[in-house]
């Protein structure tokens, strides 16, 4: 991805914008593209935690749900517009992330993961039982996405918004990886002792990365609430966690487009090559197992090796 110039990025993103129309422009295609964009943004939040910080956060479904619920409550009960609900979603996720960050300050590896798992369980219980969040009935009556006179009644109309959100997430993650915080996160991940000796405070880095990551996932939840027009406790389902994790590791870690491609592959299988819910579940879990156990660098690893081999062969032939 380093070789990509700004122009090629612009062309690529422009092609992505018109891709649903090029693929026939049916409702199903637009729906798939909107969901791919939303779930990819959701996964980018987790990507920086797994790929850059080197931890496994299992609390990200809560950030996704926080964004979805904040948006649903803000729009349906308080009459907020999409910009206000987005700010509300980001604020809600940031508050939760700060709380988790402070609680888990001294925890690492599996204890950290287990506590974040606990947060998801608490979130699930609250979503299913707390009347303020609609309890088991959920929240209905989410109005149509309407901003500056642009109304998105269908997935076709929502697609430019989803595309913009995706572009923003890509830009943010790219900037993060080039930033001081991104480099500090990698140092803490690869060599915590060296990080401390270099004057980096791992606790501060972890909280800051968490605060950066959670709003990205929450923003996906924000748009998801408008796309579905109904939000209930199933937004905290384990499916979203497995989807995020698989998307993050499928292609390879620390590759900017990897979560997007990962989500696209998974959703295309589920939407267009589905074998039924249970078999799809087995496929998704098996992909996760096989990739991590036998291809730790993801699908991109062997692909890059192959490219390198071809280049070497070509060089040898020329000389």
């Amino acid at each position: 991805m380093r070789m990509m110039t700004p122009l090629s990025w612009l062309i690529g993103l422009g092609l992505m914008l018109i891709a649903p129309a090029l693929l026939g422009g049916s409702g199903a295609v637009y729906s798939a593209f909107v969901l791919i964009a939303i779930f990819a943004v959701m996964s980018y939040g987790l990507d920086v935690i797994v790929s850059d910080l080197g931890e496994v956060s299992l609390a990200h479904p809560v950030f996704f749900a926080a964004g979805a619920y904040a948006s649903a409550i803000g729009s349906s009960r308080w009459g907020f517009d999409p910009i206000s609900t987005l700010l509300l979603a980001i604020a809600a996720a940031a508050i939760i992330a700060a709380g988790i960050g402070i609680v888990t300050l001294r925890m690492r590896e599996f204890v950290f993961s287990l506590v974040t798992y606990a947060v998801t369980v608490v979130g699930m219980t609250l979503a299913a039982n707390w009347a303020f969040l609609g309890g088991s009935d959920g929240i209905t009556g989410i109005p149509v996405f309407n901003i500056f006179g642009y109304s998105a009644l269908t997935d076709r109309e929502l697609w430019p918004v989803a595309w913009l959100l995706l572009v923003a997430a890509l830009y943010l993650v790219r900037c993060f990886r080039r930033s001081r915080l991104g480099q500090e996160a990698m140092t803490v991940h690869l060599n915590p002792r060296l990080a401390t000796m270099s004057g980096i405070d791992p606790h501060r880095v972890r909280i800051q990365v968490f605060l950066f990551s959670a709003p990205i996932t929450a923003a996906a939840g924000w748009l998801y609430s408008y796309q579905r027009a109904y939000i209930s406790a199933d937004v905290v389902d384990m499916y979203f966690l497995i989807l995020m994790l698989t998307a993050v590791v499928l292609i390879g870690r620390r590759i900017l487009l990897a979560p997007l491609i990962g989500v696209a592959l998974i959703l295309c299988q589920e939407k267009f090559l589905s074998f039924g819910g249970y078999v799809d579940r087995i496929i998704l879990g098996s992909v996760l197992i096989v990739i991590l156990s036998f291809m730790p660098r993801g699908l991109a690893g062997p692909a890059f090796d192959m490219l390198r081999w071809i280049k070497r062969r070509a060089k040898n032939i020329n000389t």
């Binding site: 299992l58 609680v103 001294r106 925890m107 599996f110 287990l114 369980v121 579940r281 991590l292 156990s293």
Partner: protein
């Protein structure tokens, strides 16, 4: 609300929690690994017991070893698949892989057993005992007896036998154990197989208390996690005590405060404990 009844419910629940957690206790104590598929392995153990009894009409005492054999097979397969990750101590990947296994097991179980709830009736669960206002089943008594025996046996094996010493050596320093000629692969495979067997026997005993669903694994892994962490990671006695304490907490909280929020309350308690004593209740203050 009868206090004594709640006390007995809490004790039965507590022994159930401890029994469910026993495999994880060994796994964490020995391999320093976690298994997020533990709950789904519990679910599978319950369904295999139910299937063997209802489909083939085999007795309960035959169904239990069959469920354990399936548990051993699943545990072995899991560890065989991620053995390289375990040896490399790539904990991040191991955690994600076990989550994946849990997801697969749930899909397989729903496909094979169906997604509707089932009732696992055993000869012990249908026999009630009444002492005044107090009600208990023979199944509850069996849970308490098996949990106590299992914990006592495990403590003896880990602390007094050669196998226990080998396992503790691997837990202490896998590389040094390897240099000392110990086949750490066998230990890791054995520990996962043991976890499969332990969770299957727990499922066969405890699942008759409630309807069984293929989606129920999630709850079990949560309880296991709370028990193991509160008990002090890897501590056998600690897990037993934490299991009983949690069972009593869940019974009284459910009866006097809110049944819907009892799991969430357990977690809030756990989080508070972890912030104050990161090593769990059994650790020395300030230990990690």
């Amino acid at each position: 609300m009868n206090f004594t009844q709640q006390l007995i419910n809490g004790l039965v629940l507590g022994h159930s929690y401890a029994l469910i957690a026993i495999g994880w206790t060994v796994l964490l104590g020995v391999a320093r690994l976690v298994n997020f598929g533990h709950g789904q392995m519990y679910m599978l153990g319950a369904f295999v017991t139910w299937f063997v009894m209802s489909r083939f009409g085999l007795p309960y005492l035959v169904a239990i070893p069959i469920a354990m054999a399936v548990g051993i097979g699943v545990g072995y397969l899991m560890q065989r698949t991620m053995l390289q990750l375990t040896i490399r101590q790539d904990l991040v990947s191991v955690m994600i892989v076990t989550l994946g296994f849990g997801h697969v097991l749930e899909g397989v179980a729903a496909l094979f057993f169906g997604s509707t709830g089932q009732i696992l009736d055993t000869p012990l669960s249908v026999r009630d005992i009444y002492i005044g206002d107090i009600w208990i089943t023979w199944q509850d008594i069996a849970i308490i007896i098996v949990a106590i025996l299992f914990f006592a046996l495990l403590k003896y094996v880990v602390e007094k036998t050669r196998v226990g010493r080998l396992v503790r050596m691997v837990a202490e320093d896998p590389k040094l154990a390897l240099l000392a000629g110990i086949d750490i692969r066998k230990i890791y495979l054995g520990v996962f197989a043991f976890e499969g067997a332990a969770v299957a026997i727990a499922a066969a005993l405890i699942a008759p208390r409630t309807p069984i669903l293929t989606s129920m694994g999630f709850d079990q892994v949560i309880i296991t996690f709370v028990v193991v962490v509160l008990g002090g990671i890897g501590s056998i006695t600690g897990s037993y005590v934490a299991g009983i304490a949690l069972g009593l907490f869940a019974a009284f909280f459910g009866a006097y405060v809110s049944a819907a929020y009892s799991t969430a309350a357990m977690f809030v308690f756990l989080i508070v404990v972890l912030v104050v004593r990161p090593g769990g209740l059994a650790s020395r203050p300030g230990a990690h």
